[in-house]
């Protein structure tokens, strides 16, 4: 084994403190408003997107309360349509995506590759402000006379035209999505540039942590998919206000074209949402099992495979239109199960023969695995056109994608518990965290499993009222109970933040983690690193702390001389 310099006693050398202070010229709100530091912007993203999660969750609770009786009268039919439209829109457009690539990726990716900041810090700030004001635009629909958008988060034409959905709520929805869409595109550009050009010396592509890899692939997918949505939204706006007839039959347009455009964005979007959380879970499982990621390269190829396939499966949302080539989209959709399965087995392989520490983050990751397994397997049913004809637009589909997205929410909280100490410098309370996990995990299953049964029994989605049927009512009430448990788990998270606010300093590396971000201080200084360890694998911090426990090699080995690389 080659040598490593002894571990220094102190991580921050005092000579650098002045440098650190220099950058902190402004303080308080002015600092926040003008900052281009990826950590400050990322923190703004985190807070905003978690607030969006809570808003979207509140809509969900109202929806579930309405459905707990067949003839629910909590909200009107019109309000119900607004609520589920905004629930889906807030969760997909304003929480899941921005949380993944705006919040955690923004903070963690530059740290993981040893970069001082994102490649385009000002563009990064612009992304956040576009996102914030896009979100406010979208939500402001509730304050218009006609109410918020009410055509579902997919806005199918011609229901979304000015005849069927008049009112400015729908226009604000389109405007909000245009703003957040540009925000996503800019973040995609930024992440690509950062990952391609700002990696530290020694950080080759195949030494990048899986999270960074997944974010790179996500960023590429964003660049491929989001412009299509943006174009589609502009077309929809033109149809509504400028007399074009792109999606209306009357003027020779084609309504199904909207579905093609929407899902050409929408299916890659599913993976734009999922891949970052796959990355988070991969990091968490490896660290808390005290093992390297099993099948690291296979994991990367699986991610690339998912991304490639995801561009050719959009019409599996459109099987029942009767105007798409079924076998092609069926086999492409079924094939996505293969790389996803590889990931699942790699996660299990990472835990195998490890020494698993069940911190809250790890519990969330295991919860993710189980919930994602359920959602993934039911997704295979939906990839088969005859089974999709049978379950399309029923609660089976609702339950399927809620299993998936609730798994992602577990991944998100896992990410917050795992990286929270690095970002804030303080630990979150583990006891409350575990309470939160159990409420979230059990609540998710109690919430989704009745949905599968209801869907198979024929209950359609997006209905505010349903026929009197004792079994349907019971199942809906169980589902509502699950939603309440999930709501309690979210409250537990807020309580946890309030209770552990600046209580227990985290130290640089509380989890004995692997990747570069745990080498610097918590929170990291202004430009992240005063010095870096040798980067000779995808686990530089681990290699530095455990030089005698490097990854058991396979294949070739190279001579190297470990030493610290100073960065100026």
């Amino acid at each position: 084994m080659t040598d490593v310099l002894p571990r220094p006693v102190e991580h921050v050398e005092h000579g650098h403190e002045e440098l650190h202070e220099e950058h902190q010229g402004r303080t308080g709100i002015l600092n926040w408003l003008t900052s281009t530091d990826h950590k400050v912007i990322g923190m703004s993203y985190t807070v905003t997107s978690v607030i969006m999660l809570i808003i979207g969750g509140a809509f969900a609770e109202i929806i579930r309360a309405q459905l707990s009786t067949p003839n629910g009268s909590l909200v009107s039919l019109a309000q119900y349509n607004e609520l589920f439209t905004m629930h889906g829109s807030v969760m997909i457009y304003l929480f899941a995506g921005p949380f993944a690539f705006g919040a955690l990726a923004n903070i963690i990716v530059p740290l993981q590759i040893g970069a001082p900041d994102m490649a385009f810090p000002r563009l990064n700030a612009l992304s956040y402000w576009l996102y914030l004001f896009g979100s406010l635009t979208l939500l402001s629909g509730f304050f218009t006379a006609g109410g918020a958008a009410s055509f579902g988060w997919v806005a199918y034409a011609p229901l979304s035209n000015s005849l069927n959905t008049p009112g400015s709520g729908a226009d604000l929805w389109i405007g909000g999505l245009l703003l957040t869409g540009f925000s996503a595109i800019f973040t995609g550009v930024n992440l690509c540039a950062t990952i391609f050009y700002l990696r530290a010396p020694g950080m080759t592509m195949f030494r990048m942590p899986i999270f960074t890899w997944n974010m790179l692939v996500t960023a590429i997918l964003i660049l491929l998919a989001f412009p299509v949505l943006t174009a589609g939204l502009i077309m929809l706006y033109c149809d509504r206000h400028f007399g074009t007839h792109i999606f209306s039959v009357a003027g020779g347009g084609v309504p199904v074209l909207w579905q093609h455009i929407f899902w050409f964005w929408g299916h890659p979007e599913v993976y734009i949402l999922a891949l970052p959380f796959f990355g988070m879970v991969t990091e968490i499982i490896a660290v808390f099992s005290r093992k390297p990621v099993f099948g690291y390269k296979g994991m990367i190829f699986a991610t690339l495979g998912i991304a490639a396939l995801s561009l050719g499966v959009w019409a599996h949302h459109m099987y029942t239109t009767g105007v798409v080539l079924l076998p092609f989209f069926a086999i492409m959709s079924l094939l996505i199960a293969v790389p996803t399965g590889i990931k699942m087995f790699n996660w299990i392989g990472t835990m195998w023969r490890g020494e698993i520490w069940f911190s809250t983050a790890m519990l969330m990751a295991v919860g993710f695995l189980i919930t994602f397994l359920i959602g993934g397997l039911t997704g295979i049913f939906l990839a088969s056109p005859p089974l999709d004809f049978f379950t399309h637009d029923t609660y089976f589909v609702v339950a399927h994608f809620h299993s998936i997205v609730m798994a992602l929410v577990m991944g998100a909280f896992g990410g917050l518990y795992y990286w929270g100490p690095k970002i804030t410098g303080y630990m979150l309370n583990e006891t409350i965290g575990k309470i939160q996990f159990w409420f979230l995990f059990i609540g998710t299953q109690v919430f989704t499993i009745p949905g599968y049964i209801l869907g198979l029994d024929g209950m359609p989605r997006r209905v505010a009222l349903y026929p009197h049927d004792p079994q349907w009512q019971t199942l809906n009430q169980i589902s509502t109970l699950g939603a309440i448990l999930i709501g309690i788990s979210t409250i537990a998270f807020v309580v946890n933040i309030a209770m552990s606010w600046k209580k227990h300093p985290a130290g640089d590396n509380p989890w004995d983690a692997h990747t570069l971000e745990w080498f610097t201080t918590s929170p990291p200084p202004h430009h992240n690193y005063y010095r870096l360890p040798q980067i000779r694998s995808e686990r530089p911090t681990w290699d530095y702390n455990h030089p005698e426990h490097k990854t058991a090699a396979h294949g070739h080995h190279e001579e190297h001389h470990d030493q610290e690389v100073p960065v100026s």
């Binding site: 039919l77 019109a78 349509n81 055509f151 199918y156 229901l159 039959v249 309504p255 199904v256 005290r290 093992k291 390297p292 099993f294 099948g295 690291y296 296979g298 029942t320 239109t321 009767g322 105007v323 076998p327 079924l334 293969v338 399965g341 590889i342 087995f345 835990m351 195998w352 023969r353 490890g354 020494e355 698993i356 295991v366 397994l373 359920i374 039911t378 295979i380 049913f381 088969s384 056109p385 005859p386 004809f389 049978f390 399309h392 637009d393 198979l456 024929g458 359609p460 997006r462 209905v463 009222l465 349903y466 026929p467 009197h468 426990h549 490097k550 990854t551 058991a552 090699a553 396979h554």
Partner: protein, 307 residues
């Protein structure tokens, strides 16, 4: 099943140490014959019940779905069973692996486990086996899909028009016409054991024609004629509903399908050719002008014929 064994067996070999010349073990590890025997026993225990289930076809559980009342709904149901069984085997195995890993490898000490990272034979196994499973599922899908989307010769045609928020069923070559809004749940009457050709259209937004007992749905699109064929094999009245969000009263856009014997069906058609029935049709028309009720009546009675 296969991966459990190979994983266990193969990872017990000493991994190649980093930066050292390593001799590959020439002989299999000592325990392998015992292990192989144990594996054979496990395999027998697993394979027998699965094979027994497969052979006894009709006793398979329905996994939450129902066979429905049309020829294609029954093949969809069998496809559903096939998918369910493979999902339960694959999912159950994966779940067992997760649970095993979680309970078996919980942290007991500060020991740092072996830092193994790759195992190519294993990784190839769980790449290739799923590909084979996927192609199997795809083949089964194709068979059912081709049956379902085939357009055999039909004797009866029904034109279905979906509108906000109701349905209109008309029968070319006959005066028969049924329409109604929301919870009036208009009734489409069709004869049993006959290929029914359905022309599905929408006059405004996209609707979903969905009959649970048919295990089938199809969008009613504006400007597009969607055609499909159904063949009901049981008589009875079945509940149908719009499944694609179509605006305010989407929740209540109901209809029914009544499958009659051919004689009853002919009598029903004929009733539209005499004057009294025509006036009945007119009164149904005026009923649609009534205010839309938001009160939900009980689910329309669904009588299932003998199966």
């Amino acid at each position: 099943m296969f991966s459990v064994r190979s994983y266990h067996e193969m990872t017990s070999n000493p991994p190649v140490e980093y930066g050292r010349e390593v001799e590959l073990p020439a002989l299999p590890p000592q325990g392998s014959t015992d292990r192989a025997r144990r594996w054979r026993r496990i395999r027998r225990a697993l394979v027998l019940p699965v094979a027994a289930l497969a052979l006894s076809g009709c006793t398979l559980p329905n996994f939450g779905a129902s066979p429905g009342v049309t020829t294609s709904s029954k093949s969809v149901f069998h496809l559903w069973q096939g998918f369910s069984i493979s999902a339960i085997i694959v999912g159950g195995l994966t779940l067992l692996l997760i649970i095993w890993a979680v309970f078996r490898y919980g942290r007991k000490s500060d020991r740092i486990p072996k830092q193994s990272q790759y195992h190519l034979p294993l990784e190839w196994t769980y790449t290739i086996v799923p590909i084979l499973i996927v192609f199997g599922l795809f083949a089964a899908t194709l068979v059912v899909e081709n049956k379902e989307t085939a357009n055999p010769k039909t004797n009866v045609t029904v034109n279905v028009l979906a509108f906000q928020w109701g349905w209109k069923f008309s029968y070319p070559g006959s005066n028969a016409l049924v329409y109604g809004q929301t919870t009036q749940a208009p009734e489409m009457v069709i004869p049993v054991n006959t290929n029914i050709h359905i022309n599905l259209r929408s006059s405004d937004v996209i609707h979903g024609f969905y009959v649970h007992a048919f295990n089938f749905s199809r969008y009613a699109l504006p400007g597009v004629l969607n055609q499909f064929t159904i063949r009901a094999v049981n008589t009875g009245t079945f509940f149908g509903q719009c499944t694609q969000l179509c605006g305010l009263y989407h929740s209540l856009m109901w209809f029914r399908v009544k499958v009659d014997t051919p004689d009853q069906y002919q009598a029903w058609l004929a009733s539209y050719n005499n004057p009294s029935a025509a006036s009945a049709a007119k009164s149904a028309g005026t009923a649609t002008k009534q205010q839309i009720s938001s009160i939900v009546p009980s689910k329309p009675t669904t009588s299932k014929g003998d199966n």
